[in-house]
């Protein structure tokens, strides 16, 4: 019996060992694993696997492996848990641009400074770089952590056909936005939907339109109790209290808004540029887009989306191969193709001159208008302890919408709460 078991064991080992040797031979290729979120409804996996094949054809020594992890939050959680548990780290990850502080603090990512040259960086639109630098080592100059890849802004989508039928023009001020929305509201249709299930992002263009962003360049300051912020919040209230142009209270769901718009149940919506291909594909009317009108005119929006991060603690060969791939992936040819296929905005300035883009926008002028909003985009909300500070801000915004507090009271409370947390860093 004993001898028989030994024999089986020997057989098993002889089966496993050659298998291991074969894997080792494959291992001569440098594997670049990339954690990737699926945040829009385009065939992301097909597009990216196609990119990987194209790249590998030119770089036979590199094996690019995309690992699709769900939403942005899932990618971050998985990366941090993998690192903490001592698992195999990916080389790259796409995560929210705003998560830069948490990720660097947790030693999850490393700087691109050793790789990215000034020439390379010069072609990225400066707007996209506003959440890319963090002075972690405290030498007074920020290190580069986030390379812009899938980026978006907030847009005002309006039903151009409906506006024309009612003899209205696209709004250019808060007043016009509200009165236009009011004029287009009927028993079965809302004038405007501003999703407030994840409110800070769609709120930022309104705040900027009142002359006050909720954050500055600093990672420890917020400006919740400034008059401009309070005015912007009051304007949100006015949209249903004064103009009756949007549902009362906390009503609009992020995911429902595009459908309501294309079905004609909402004349205007505030949503991500990422929804543009879907909306253009489904709408049976002419769709107009712009950034959000400001209080006294002008247009405003905010950046959003994800950056490419280089994971900390990978070996030099993998990091070098990852950098090769990132350089290729962020070439204008690829960023334009990515933009056309997904609705994210191209990140490379020179990409807009490519023929592929020119042809595309000749047919889809809205894409060009969406891309143009990067000139008026402010920095997205990002500070230390972002999750908690954001929760405080969200809670107070929802309080205001639910009538539990006035904008001034709520924003004072939000400021106090945020300062309490952020004071630890000052």
């Amino acid at each position: 019996m004993y001898r028989k078991n030994l024999l089986i064991l020997a057989l098993l080992i002889s089966l496993i060992v050659p298998a291991g040797l074969v894997t080792a031979q494959d291992g001569e290729k440098t594997v670049v694993e990339i954690y990737f979120p699926i945040a829009v409804d385009s065939p992301i996996t097909e597009i990216l696997n196609g990119y990987a094949e194209t790249f590998e054809a030119a770089h036979p020594d590199v094996d690019v492996v995309f690992s699709f992890e769900g939403a942005y939050g899932d990618v971050k959680t998985k990366l941090l848990n993998t690192i903490e548990g001592g698992g195999d780290r990916p080389a790259l990850a796409i995560m929210l641009a705003t998560d830069i502080y948490d990720l660097r603090n947790a030693d999850a990512i490393q700087s691109w400074d050793a790789y990215a040259t000034e020439d390379y960086l010069a072609d990225f639109a400066p707007t996209w770089m506003t959440n890319s630098y963090y002075d972690f080592d405290g030498d007074g100059e920020g290190e580069l952590y986030g390379l812009p890849f899938q980026r978006s802004t907030v847009l005002l989508y309006y039903n151009q056909t409906m506006l024309e039928e009612n003899g209205l023009a696209a709004p250019t001020t808060w007043e016009e936005l509200a009165t236009t929305a009011q004029a287009l509201t009927t028993d079965s249709r809302w004038g405007i939907l501003v999703p407030n299930s994840w409110p800070y992002w769609v709120f930022q263009p309104f705040a900027a339109g009142a002359g006050q962003n909720i954050v500055s360049e600093s990672d420890v300051d917020v400006y919740f109790d400034e008059q401009g912020i309070i005015d912007a919040l009051q304007y949100w209230l006015d949209l249903f209290q004064v103009y009756g142009a949007t549902p009362e209270g906390v009503q609009n769901n992020w995911g429902d808004a595009p459908g309501a718009f294309t079905d004609g149940n909402a004349a205007m919506i505030v949503h991500s540029t990422g929804s543009l291909p879907g909306i253009l594909g489904r709408a049976e009317f002419e769709v107009g887009v712009s950034a959000l009108p400001g209080r006294e005119g002008g247009f405003y929006t905010v950046t959003g989306g994800g950056n490419l991060y280089l994971v900390e603690g990978i070996d030099d060969a993998t990091a070098a191969a990852a950098w090769e791939f990132v350089q290729w992936l962020t070439m204008p040819e690829q960023t334009i193709d990515w933009s056309i296929q997904t609705g994210y905005i191209n990140t490379r300035v020179s990409g807009f001159e490519l023929e592929a883009w020119q042809t595309y926008v000749a047919e889809n002028p809205q894409a060009a208008q969406a891309a143009a909003t990067i000139d008026v985009a402010v920095r997205e909300f990002s500070v230390q302890d972002l999750g908690e500070v954001r929760n405080i801000f969200h809670a107070e915004i929802l309080n205001v919408l639910n009538g539990a507090a006035t904008p001034a009271e709520a924003m004072e409370a939000a400021q106090t709460g945020a300062d309490e947390i952020l004071s630890i860093y000052r």
């Binding site: 939050g73 959680t77 941090l80 848990n81 903490e84 502080y101 948490d102 660097r104 603090n105 947790a106 972690f136 405290g138 407030n196 299930s197 994840w198 409110p199 549902p247 009362e248 209270g249 906390v250 009503q251 609009n252 769901n253 992020w254 429902d256 309501a260 149940n265 230390q384 302890d385 999750g387 908690e388 954001r390 929760n391 969200h394 809670a395 929802l398 309080n399 639910n402 309490e420 947390i421 630890i424 860093y425």
Partner: protein, 316 residues
């Protein structure tokens, strides 16, 4: 067999079980109790600052913002100090969890009992009715929540349409409205669980002796009297059992919260286990997450122990 092996064989036989109990129950419990006395915040930089870590009873001193630092029972003191953020969160979470348990458990048990009585009859097509009541149980909670998100859709969702028919004109977006989100979770839990608990009542009903009902008939008891004075008391052990699993599952199931109310950025719908997840994986406030876990273990232990004592006594 020798005397020695006879003495040690039983111990040897339960050793594997003991090993697993130790590795997967005792050791983690000890570790979480230990770690709950430690400040560790890996999403904060390892930067030394004069700070009291914003915990009660901790003196200000130059410390790393990340930790780890031994803070003793500071998190437990913070839980019961409403001026701290931990205390405020704890108060809200406990209030939510208590409401959730107190509302979902009795309602789903009552519904389960009613369903069981309704379908415990030899009627044609009763199998279909049983199937209908039991169907929600077969769905994973995640799928149930996904279906209900659709029901809860403002304007055209079936839930809001039905409510409007009955004259409701309030807010409609249940899953993202801070005032409604917790109720939306309760509704899904009740819908999901009533059919499951019904099975236990149905089994109980079918095992009831006929003679007591014959005796009740002879005494001229009507249907309601039989229900209240005969059926329900006879099913008291089923009720006890169902209550215990209902309460335990109310503490343990948060799948629907992850699907439905994750977009709600505020804490109005956070249940205890969900908060543990958030603190541990989203905010990375390890000390607080461990402290909440200890509280959760204490609550579950108390419930299990109470159930043990009660059912042992009744068993006599």
């Amino acid at each position: 067999m020798t005397q020695l092996s006879r003495r040690f064989l039983p111990i040897l036989l339960i050793l594997p079980t003991l090993y697993f109990v130790f590795m997967f129950t005792v050791r983690p419990t000890y570790k979480v109790l230990n770690d709950s006395q430690e400040y560790y915040y890996p999403s904060r930089p390892d930067r030394v600052r004069p700070t009291d870590l914003q915990l009660p009873g901790i003196e200000e001193a130059p410390r790393s913002l990340r930790g780890p630092h031994d803070v003793g029972w500071a998190y437990y003191r913070a839980l019961f100090d409403p001026d701290t953020r931990e205390g405020e969160t704890f108060r809200q979470v406990m209030s939510n969890t208590t409401q959730y348990v107190l509302i979902t458990v009795p309602i789903s048990i009552l519904l389960a009992f009613v369903f069981a009585v309704l379908i415990n009859r030899p009627l044609r097509g009763i199998g279909l009715a049983r199937m209908a009541f039991f169907y929600p149980t077969m769905l994973p909670l995640v799928s149930a929540a996904t279906i209900w998100i659709f029901f809860f859709t403002p304007e055209y969702g079936i839930w809001n349409t039905a409510l409007r028919f009955f004259g409701y004109h309030g807010a409609e977006n249940w899953v993202i409205n801070p005032n409604l989100a917790l109720y939306s979770l309760m509704i899904v839990a009740i819908w999901k669980n009533a059919g499951y608990f019904m099975i236990f009542y149905l089994a109980g009903l079918q095992n009831l002796p006929d003679d007591v009902f014959e005796a009740a008939d002879l005494d001229g008891a009507n249907w309601v009297q039989k229900m209240v004075y005969v059926t329900f008391p006879l099913l008291r052990r089923t009720t006890l059992f169902v209550s215990v699993i209902a309460i335990l599952s109310a503490f343990q199931n948060i799948d629907h919260a992850l699907v439905m109310t994750y977009e709600l950025a505020t804490g109005e719908a956070d249940l205890l286990l969900y908060e543990v997840y958030q603190q541990r994986f989203e905010f990375r406030n390890y000390g607080f997450a461990n402290t909440l876990t200890v509280i959760m273990i204490l609550i579950l232990l108390t419930l299990t122990f109470t159930n043990f004592v009660l059912s042992e006594r009744r068993g006599e």
